[in-house]
């Protein structure tokens, strides 16, 4: 046992870019990949880690002086670097037990299908990282792997339930049958729902708006290179740079935002064979049974309102960051905030005025939770070497999925040391979820009746 833990420690000390690929190759062989393909996938995964490290390092070097400059010129302390969700995923995958979440998710899903507790099969194995993410937050507080796995399991179950509950609504909005969204980002909908109930009572907000062409007109501002350039220039102005400095920072920020997706898709490339093997296994096992296939959110990306809201959120979150008490993060790589826009879209069923107001209400939550979890993610990044950070450097994300759930359930064990806030938040989230579930059930019944009437 002693020897085993020494060997284990030796591998961990090699750093995430080496030990995660080793685990990946073993996992690949377990799902019957050819050795050659498994090694290729493993190396790609290592490259993804090193690549992300390069991009994050580059971004930090460009932005850290801005934060210092802002502190000096305005007194604002925004020293947490916003690495966006791709950075959070990188750090999450570096957790030594990360791959254990695959069998956990599949096992729970199979059991729930066998016992008819769900109609959804979660085929989105990329977002296994979301369960790793909350497990990491739990473990850094409790140091107990079983509690971490229990909270991750809770999230797995809720994602499947959420998939069941949202299916009809999503089908009626996208026109795509047989699929649903199992992404945890939908959890935030229950927090927005009570506000939407009030907004529905204001007649002026409930007129339909024609936005057919708006997306094409303003869409350019959300393209990574353009958005990065604009943000970089604004950073430069706030930090008091000269014109040359401003333009250079603009290009550097454009570069960072363009490179993030290019590098992080390498993670998906290397994980694809495992994800494939699992999907095929499930499709065979439950062939002939009517299932909803749970997917990541982008299949809803054809809805124009979503993009208008996302563009609206960009300046709003930026202004919030400057004026909001309790925020220490300078929004950057996470500023394309799907985590806020998607739940707002589903709750309002695409009503833009109400979406805007809900985004306004929801935005501060993302900055506060991003600030709150920064120490935990930075600690893991340092421990595994997934992202190189200095002793006092902090990294986080301004678009954390399901922020209220993550904060509440990730940190509820703080109650043991006398901080009851996260536990109360977890209770509040649960109450809202029950309330929202009831509404979704009613919606499902209504839409099913409509479907029936149409076919008859």
């Amino acid at each position: 046992m002693e020897l085993l833990s020494t060997i284990f420690q030796y591998f961990l000390d090699l750093g995430a870019a080496v030990f995660v690929p080793i685990i990946m190759i073993i996992a690949g062989l377990c799902v019957k990949m050819k050795l050659k393909d498994a090694i290729s996938a493993g190396i790609t995964l290592g490259v993804a880690f090193v690549g992300m490290n390069l991009v994050v390092g580059f971004m930090k070097d460009a932005i850290t002086p801005v934060a210092t400059g802002m502190l000096n010129s305005t007194g604002l302390q925004l020293d947490i670097v916003d690495g966006g969700w791709t950075t959070m995923a990188t750090i999450s995958w570096s957790w030594p037990y990360a791959f254990a979440i695959f069998p956990l998710q599949i096992g729970i899903n199979v059991l729930m299908l066998i016992f008819n507790k769900t109609k959804t099969f979660n085929a989105d194995l990329w977002n296994v990282w979301g369960k790793i993410f909350i497990a990491v937050i739990v473990i850094s507080l409790t140091n107990n792997i079983w509690i971490a796995l229990a909270i991750a399991s809770l999230q797995i179950i809720l994602e499947l339930r959420s998939g069941d509950l949202h299916q009809k609504t999503i089908q009626s909005m996208t026109g795509i049958p047989g699929v649903t969204c199992t992404h945890r980002t939908l959890f935030f909908g229950c927090i927005l729902y009570p506000f939407d109930c009030l907004l529905k009572k204001i007649p002026a907000l409930n007129k339909p708006i024609n936005i057919e062409t708006l997306r094409d007109k303003i869409g350019i501002f959300a393209e990574n290179h353009v958005l990065g350039f604009i943000l970089g220039c604004i950073f430069g102005v706030i930090a008091g740079y000269d014109v040359g400095g401003i333009l250079n920072l603009g290009i550097k920020c454009a570069c960072a935002l363009m490179l993030f997706p290019m590098v992080s898709k390498l993670f998906m490339q290397s994980l694809a064979p495992i994800s494939d093997a699992v999907s095929e296994f499930m499709q065979k096992k439950f062939a002939g049974r009517e299932l909803y296939v749970g997917l990541d959110w982008p299949f809803m990306g054809g809805i124009n309102e979503l993009w208008i809201a996302i563009i609206f959120i960009i300046p709003m979150i930026f202004i919030d960051a400057l004026i909001l008490p309790g925020n220490n993060m300078l929004p950057f790589a996470g500023i394309i905030n799907f985590s806020l826009a998607i739940p707002a879209l589903l709750v309002t069923r695409g009503n833009l005025p109400r979406m805007f107001i809900l985004c306004l209400i929801g935005a501060p939550v993302f900055l506060w939770v991003g600030t709150a979890i920064a120490p935990y993610m930075s600690e893991l990044a340092r421990a595994t070497g997934a992202i190189e950070l200095g002793v006092n450097e902090l990294i986080s994300n301004s678009c954390i999925n399901a922020p209220v759930f993550t904060y509440g359930f990730g940190q509820m064990f703080k109650a043991l040391t006398g901080d009851f806030v996260p536990l109360i938040v977890a209770g509040g989230w649960t109450a809202c979820w029950v309330f929202y579930s009831r509404y979704l059930k009613k919606e499902t019944a209504r839409l099913e009746a409509e479907e029936k009437a149409e076919t008859e």
Binding site: V179, G219, K265, Q269, V293, D296
Partner: protein
């Protein structure tokens, strides 16, 4: 070389899942072609590339595109996958 793009929200996860799957299936059928995951926000700009002969959508397309559009959901759910693959191969030949 003829190229087909798959687009999702940020060109990272869903689009790459579909791209990897299509690449694997094309290999099995011994068809050459480049499949690339891209960002939905930059799709119009990307499609100006003359090498691109098709677009695999994982959404319901909201407008007309200059190239043939394929159903990417089929590759995520496995339903109707072979039919879409045949159409893609037709374009790549």
């Amino acid at each position: 070389m003829k190229k087909i793009v798959v687009a999702c929200g940020s060109g990272v996860a869903t689009s790459q899942t579909v791209a990897s799957k299509v690449i694997k299936l094309l290999k099995e059928r011994k068809v050459n072609g480049v499949i690339e995951a891209v960002d939905m926000k930059s799709l119009d700009r990307t499609l100006k590339d003359k090498d691109i002969v098709g677009y695999i959508a994982i959404t319901k397309p909201y407008k007309e595109y200059p190239v043939p559009v394929f159903n990417g959901i089929a590759f995520l759910t496995g339903m109707g996958m072979d039919k879409e693959l045949d159409k893609i191969i037709e374009v790549l030949k």
